[in-house]
Amino acid sequence: MGIWFSLVAVAALTLLGLIGANVSGLNYVFAVVIPYIAIVMFIVGIIVRIVRWASSPVPFRIPTTGGQQKSLPFIKQNRLDNPSSYLGVLGRMALEVLFFRSLFRNTKAELKEGPMLTYGANKWLWLFSLAFHWSFLIIFLRHFRFLTNPMPFFVPLLQDIDGFFQIWVPLVYITNIALVIALAYLFFRRVFDSKVRYISLPSDYFPLLLISGIAITGILMRYFFKTDLVAVKELMLGILSFSPSAPSEALSTWFYIHLLFVCSLLIYFPMSKLVHMSGVFMSPTRNLANTNRMVRHVNPWIDDLKMKTHTYEEYEDEFRKVMKGAGMPLDKEESHVS
């Protein structure tokens, strides 16, 4: 159900892109107006999300500890999986965000005859997720050659590294291939792993298909249906310098579809699970040091909790007789409650 819904949604966007490209009166809307809307919705949306999260306090310090705590000098602390300093947390977060440390731990539980449970290493999800995210990032950065003039220093650098194998003209980029393979893995894993299919929502398939659409149209434009890159760059520079010109006739239909997909992703991003991009930085089980017994963590609403501790006085009042009988020390010989 979710798969079909997502496929139809992406097909509808494709159709919309076709219309935008071929109905000349709509060119301006699709090449200029929609991108502006998308950029604004993306930036505002992400800010709103972060502010919304940040407006709730972190009431308790609850890091998930993934290794030995700092305790006695002769016991070796695991500074990255159980950090007790700012630097350690930075390291833990860096490992998490850049290399998906937690996902790297992934195992696969199997029940065998016996009964016997085994937990084999299962790094595929880690590998393809990492390939997907890094490729996507590098491809995005490479696109700065269309977005700024002159292009930033890192673009040629990335192009050189990414095109390392020097095959085909134009050069085949490793990240293009990696992105497509990783997307295919992530999508078919959702479809064919019965457990993952069971938990999947339309909103899990849709972004995968949408990003696949972006990747495929991009690759088609680069290698097969050449589009006028000068016209593209002119358009993008116009948009980003807030002086958009009328879109050139030379822009191809593929470009319009590609651009609409990208705009859809920007709009969809802040209102979907894709906000994990910014959310991961705020996760309290990862971004806090395990200094719980060293430094007091203050909770702004702790005094709102109404129920009071049953006091020793109340306790002694209730049990004074038996305590006296047992020869236990008392604070008061007699109750003040009559």
């Binding site: 009431p59 305790s71 539980a109 060293m294 007091r296 129920m307 305590m323």
Partner: protein
């Protein structure tokens, strides 16, 4: 306690293939042996919680207040504003499924709603419906659902099939913590009086008498003195039994099962022998006679109220600092919550071992030290004499209790002690220990008789790992530092791998401890003959 199904038969009922039907259409089946009984109204009344009444989860009518939906949704909104964790965890899950087979209840039951991701989705579906635009507009397509009685029934079933062990959180790429989600879901249900008795009655007992069994002060004193008498028989030494002693240097807080349950009791003997041997100036408290905090299984408010006794008592008695005994979730609360809930403990001093002079820098704010930290420091500084051979009848392995492992990182201290008090120690396979440890399957209030089948299922991964080292290495003792473990691992092992016993770390310390002036020991603390001292 028993289960008719044999272990092999139970294993055969486990099928990891999810059903055809969409999860939003599958209703929970309150099958006998897989859920807990409802909270006793008297207990609920005693701690002033909402809607005390007689009801049971298998009944059609839960006798909910008329506006129960509004109460829950209002409570939900309030908690979203109070807990960034909740807001974030509702929003950022990508359903990658990495957590799916990390949950002991999923591994042991195959029920897809025991995959941590779906457990949380039960809450998220309502969150989307009520608090997001997409959920309001697209309903089911956005994975949103209205809060109905059926949804509530699922919440009750599955949030009381989570032991807040946090294993899934270790594997989650965003650190989503199901324990946090479960605590808050239980807190929401508690607003309309939907809770379980093995949480609420212990809470009421702790509130009143200081411990979850409801033992009154003189009963507490009797138990401690009884233990001293046993130690006299075993070692020939009469140890002190200070209770509520003002001006003692250290307050010692233990889980109440230590003085009332077996095998916990042997750990108590170990603590008392050790403290006597090193001449520690300490006191027990009858008022704060429970380190465990059943409040943490149902709401932050109750957790705070119960936890408050420890600092209050430390202040009243005028001690300098506090040591805490072997208990799992007790240490989650002491380590991650106490200072925030009831601190600052500025009336105490930074803990410094009077025996070794070691300052426990890692506890410089809460001023409370874990007993295994304290003891490993004694051993490292050669302050106690240990005869490892007195534990030669045991070959042990160590079960990392969930909370000290994943909410503290107390991994090496107990192992360091074990290696110094016994000759034979073997760890279980690496995917089942330390931060990846498997729960006993009975924590967070689920250790009841009526929930026995689910406990055997949830404990299956732990028991299976024990079986592995028992068969491969000859392990015959599972050690742990948690009172719930000590209560629930014995029946678990009895079911899955009979013949392996359960013990606390300080029982083995007590066995190995060579005390000044002791008589020749012929038995261990359990009164079993020591190796080479068997009477033929």
């Amino acid at each position: 306690m028993s289960l008719k199904m044999k272990p092999e038969e139970l294993a055969q009922t486990i099928d990891y293939k999810p059903p055809k039907k969409h999860w939003l259409d599958v209703k929970p089946d309150y099958k006998k042996g897989t859920y807990n009984y409802a909270g006793n109204p008297e207990s609920i009344k005693y701690v002033h919680q909402p809607n005390p009444r007689k009801w049971q989860p298998y009944e059609e009518d839960w006798k909910l207040p008329e506006n129960w939906k509004e109460i829950i949704l209002e409570g939900f909104r309030e908690r979203l504003d109070k807990f960034r964790s909740l807001k974030l965890f509702m929003d950022i899950c990508v359903r990658c499924g990495a957590c799916a087979d990390k949950c002991h209840f999923f591994i042991g039951s195959g029920d897809p709603k025991n995959m941590p991701v779906l457990r949380a989705e039960l809450l998220r579906a309502v969150y989307r419906k009520e608090f997001t635009l997409a959920g309001k507009l697209m309903a089911r397509m956005a994975g949103a659902t209205e809060l109905t009685f059926d949804v509530l029934k699922e919440w009750f079933y599955y949030f009381y099939q989570c032991t807040q062990c946090r294993r899934c959180s270790v594997f989650c790429p965003y650190g989503i913590d199901t324990a946090e989600i479960t605590i808050l879901a239980r807190e929401l249900m508690n607003l309309i009086g939907v809770n379980i008795d093995w949480v609420m009655t212990p809470v009421a007992n702790c509130h009143r008498t200081g411990n979850h069994l409801g033992i009154q002060p003189h009963g507490f004193k009797d138990s401690i003195e009884f233990a001293a008498d046993d130690l006299l028989d075993l070692t020939g030494i009469k140890v002190d039994t200070p209770i509520n002693k003002k001006g003692a240097e250290i307050l010692f807080v233990i889980p109440s099962a230590d003085y009332f349950g077996e095998p916990h009791y042997f750990t108590l003997l170990g603590y008392m022998a050790l403290f006597h041997e090193i001449g520690l100036d300490f006191t027990f408290s009858s008022y704060a006679s429970e380190g465990g905090n059943f409040g943490s299984f149902v709401s932050h408010e109750l957790m705070k109220a119960l936890n408050g006794k420890i600092y209050a008592e430390a202040k009243r008695l005028g001690v300098k600092w506090i040591i805490g005994g072997e208990c799992g979730h007790m240490w989650r609360v002491l380590h991650q919550y106490m200072d925030t809930l009831n601190g600052p403990a500025d009336f105490l001093e930074v803990p410094k071992s009077p025996i070794t002079g070691t300052v426990f820098e890692n506890a410089r704010s809460t001023r409370m030290v874990h007993i295994t930290e304290f003891t490993s420091d004694l051993i490292k500084n050669n302050k106690i004499k240990l005869d490892k051979s007195r534990n030669d009848h045991w070959h042990s392995t160590f079960h990392d209790s969930c909370n000290p492992a994943r909410a503290m990182g107390l991994l090496e201290e107990p192992r360091y002690i074990l290696r110094n008090v016994m000759n034979k120690f073997t760890d279980m396979p690496e995917n089942t220990i330390r931060e990846q440890t498997f729960c006993c399957g009975s924590g967070a209030g689920l250790g009841t008789e009526e929930n026995f089948e689910m406990r055997m299922r949830g404990g299956f991964p732990r028991a299976n790992a024990v079986k592995y080292v028992a068969e491969k290495n000859g392990v015959n003792l599972l050690t742990c530092i948690c009172a719930i473990d000590k209560a629930t691992l014995p029946p678990l092992l009895q079911y899955w791998i009979p013949g392996v016993e359960v013990a606390g770390i300080h029982e083995l310390v007590g066995n190995a401890l060579v005390m000044k002036g002791e008589k020749e020991r012929t038995t261990d603390l359990r009164n079993n003959p020591l190796p080479g001292k068997e009477v033929l």
